[in-house]
């Protein structure tokens, strides 16, 4: 061999503790137990304590973060069966309009309107999107982008359900703390349930539809019916978020169908990482407070926000959650190329 230059490459290896706690189910030591539990328990406890610490303005930001988090989770759930939506505002607006209308015209208390709005929004969204679940990719995205804009326009021109002024003086939750806890607990419950569901047999079919729908069809499974079920579930989650925020602010307006509620959840998922729900949750818990704290900058706020988003997505295309998980489970070392 001639004098070949020695080259090096980075090699990624699983940590020993990861391999142990993955495969050996009788966990041997407290260390292993903590390795598995800490990343799950710490954020949950932090989120449960935060409403007691944060009051006033930042308390409201926390509620917002959870609301957007719910929308991001529902986005991720739909994406896990191959439905890319650009219209979470549809789900959100449905929920808020159902809750707001019931409360304003029929004086039904929030205890009833929130569950009714959750289910009603699920059914209405599944009904509206049912005919178009056959579409894929950007075509489905276009329809979902258009629907909330169309409903926005409809309320604007016809003036039904409060029209441009909206409905105000809705009944609030008993206290600020109740509302905050409702948002936080709803968010955590949704995260937990989604993570369980997607690993069950039911979730397996959904993911298979995303990966290869024709193979699933050949297994005699009606993929359109499954997709409608997925739309129902995420419609219900989005509707819950909408109803919650409507009662919290005691106001219902056309802004419930605004583009913000469609774009921000997608940005949160792109930032946090797709496919694991934890990424969506982390993304919205980082992005919403970030955009609030940029408010001090005034006119440049959106431009800087976009800049941060671009840099983070280009820097970590896989999403921040996948990056953190990799660093947690694996280590890198430099080895010689032979």
């Amino acid at each position: 061999m001639a004098e070949a230059t020695v080259q090096y490459r980075r090699k990624r290896l699983e940590r020993g503790i990861k391999a142990r706690s993955d495969t050996i189910f009788v966990i041997a030591s407290t260390k292993d137990t903590l390795y598995l539990l800490l990343p799950r328990i710490v954020p949950v406890i932090a989120l449960l304590i935060l409403p007691l610490v944060l009051t006033g303005y930042w308390g409201k930001v926390l509620v917002f973060a959870c609301i957007y988090g719910l929308l991001a989770l529902s986005w991720d759930f739909m994406a896990s069966c191959g439905l890319f939506s650009l219209g979470q505002a549809l789900f959100f607006g449905m929920g808020s309009y159902i809750a707001g209308t019931l409360n304003s015209y029929f004086h039904i208390p929030p205890v009833i309107t929130v569950p009714v709005a959750t289910l009603g929004s699920g059914f209405l969204c599944a009904g509206l999107l049912g005919p178009v679940v056959r579409l894929k990719g950007v075509y489905f995205a276009m329809i979902t982008l258009m629907l909330p804009l169309l409903l926005h326009k409809l309320i604007d021109t016809t003036g039904i359900l409060g029209g441009t002024h909206g409905l105000s003086a809705l009944s609030p939750f008993p206290s600020e703390l109740t509302a905050t806890y409702l948002a936080v607990v709803g968010f955590l419950a949704c995260l937990f349930i989604f993570r369980r569901v997607i690993n069950s047999d039911y979730g397996l079919v959904l993911r298979a539809i995303r990966d290869d729908d024709r193979a699933v069809m050949s297994g005699a499974i009606n993929i359109y019916w499954r997709k409608i079920q997925a739309v129902f579930i995420s419609g219900a989650v989005g509707g819950f978020a909408g109803a919650l925020l409507t009662h919290h602010f005691q106001f219902l307006g056309m802004s419930a169908f605004a583009l913000d509620y469609s774009i921000l959840p997608v940005a949160a998922v792109a930032f946090g990482g797709q496919g694991t729900f934890a990424g969506a949750a982390i993304g919205s818990l980082i992005l919403v407070p970030l955009s609030e704290s940029l408010r001090a900058l005034g006119g440049l706020r959106m431009a800087i926000y976009c800049g941060i988003l671009i840099v983070s997505i280009i820097g970590l295309p896989e999403g921040i959650f996948h990056y953190m998980a990799r660093k947690y489970h694996q280590f890198e070392k430099t080895v010689e190329v032979k």
């Binding site: 994406a79 890319f84 579409l135 990719g137 329809i143 169309l150 792109a270 997505i313 280009i314």
Partner: protein, 288 residues
């Protein structure tokens, strides 16, 4: 008669909006959701060159087209290269870049009724009972020229064929010697350049402000979806349907309902024929 003339001109304007976008997204499969922002940015560049640097209009328009094309080229290498193949990230990155540009322009004070580009040809002509000015006729001619150019380019030149090959199957294109990064950045540059050319022709008709950017993007998407993403003929037909629909809605129902035309057309077309009116090769694998 006025419906016919104004519908025609409106349709051609929509086609001009769409040409660049269609070249990028429809034909070579590169998502460029900053299309509208590049459109208005080039108007802004031309205005600055014209009024602050004191260059003549033709020169400043030409320069601004070149600058926008270079920007499109850079967008590919800086923004898109790392996230190619992740549709969600592509969409968010380019869309965020577009919104960022628009917000920067707004922050610079680029809104309100203060900015406009000069009209090339003054005066007008009467067609029957409708009077029409020369600038609108110029728009008409440019629009037709653009569409013809696009068709010839995509079907008759090597580079155009390479663009289409990219959209159909990138790996196969690579294996026959088409360098996908080079072609991709070229298509971004051409798309941006065409957007800028359209801006130079259409913008003098009215006031410029940054909010037009989003409008252009939405109309371009609507036309591309109705007509079928990858076909030039579909693009023309799509812009005619939406263009005439808008003018008819404005005339018979009320100006408020103009926005309904593209929405209704999209929903209708996608439910009836999901691949768009003239969509061909993505029909099976992508849409349904």
């Amino acid at each position: 008669m006025s419906l016919l003339v104004y519908g025609l001109i409106n349709s051609v304007i929509l086609a001009l909006y769409t040409v660049g976008f269609s070249l990028c997204y429809g034909i070579s499969g590169i998502a460029n959701f900053s299309h509208g922002a590049l459109y208005i940015l080039s108007g802004f560049t031309a205005w600055n060159l014209l009024n602050l640097a004191g260059l003549p209009f033709y020169l400043s328009a030409g320069l601004s087209v070149i600058i926008t094309a270079i920007l499109g080229f850079l967008f590919y290498w800086v923004l898109l290269l790392r996230v190619r193949g992740i549709p969600l990230a592509e969409l968010i990155v380019t869309f965020a870049a577009g919104v960022g540009i628009l917000e920067l322009l707004t922050w610079e004070g680029f809104y309100g009724m203060r900015y406009s580009l000069p009209i090339l040809l003054r005066g007008g002509v009467d067609i029957g009972t409708v009077s029409i000015d020369y600038q609108r006729l110029f728009v008409l001619i440019t629009g037709v020229a653009f569409v013809v150019f696009l068709w010839l380019f995509v079907h008759r030149t090597r580079v155009g064929l390479a663009f289409r090959a990219m959209a159909q199957n990138e790996r196969t294109a690579l294996s026959v010697g088409i360098e996908s990064d080079w072609i991709g950045s070229l298509s971004m540059a051409m798309g941006a350049g065409l957007a800028s050319l359209a801006a130079m022709v259409v913008l003098p008709l009215g006031m410029m402000e940054s909010s037009i950017g989003l409008e252009v993007l939405i109309y371009a998407l609507a036309v591309a979806i109705v007509g079928g993403l990858e076909s030039t003929l579909g693009m023309v037909v799509g812009s005619f349907i939406i263009g005439f629909g808008q003018i008819a809605a404005a005339k018979y129902i009320g100006a408020k309902w103009m926005i309904i035309a593209p929405l209704a057309a999209i929903v209708f077309v996608l439910v009836i024929k999901p691949s768009g009116l003239f969509g061909k090769y993505k029909e099976l694998e992508e849409r349904v």
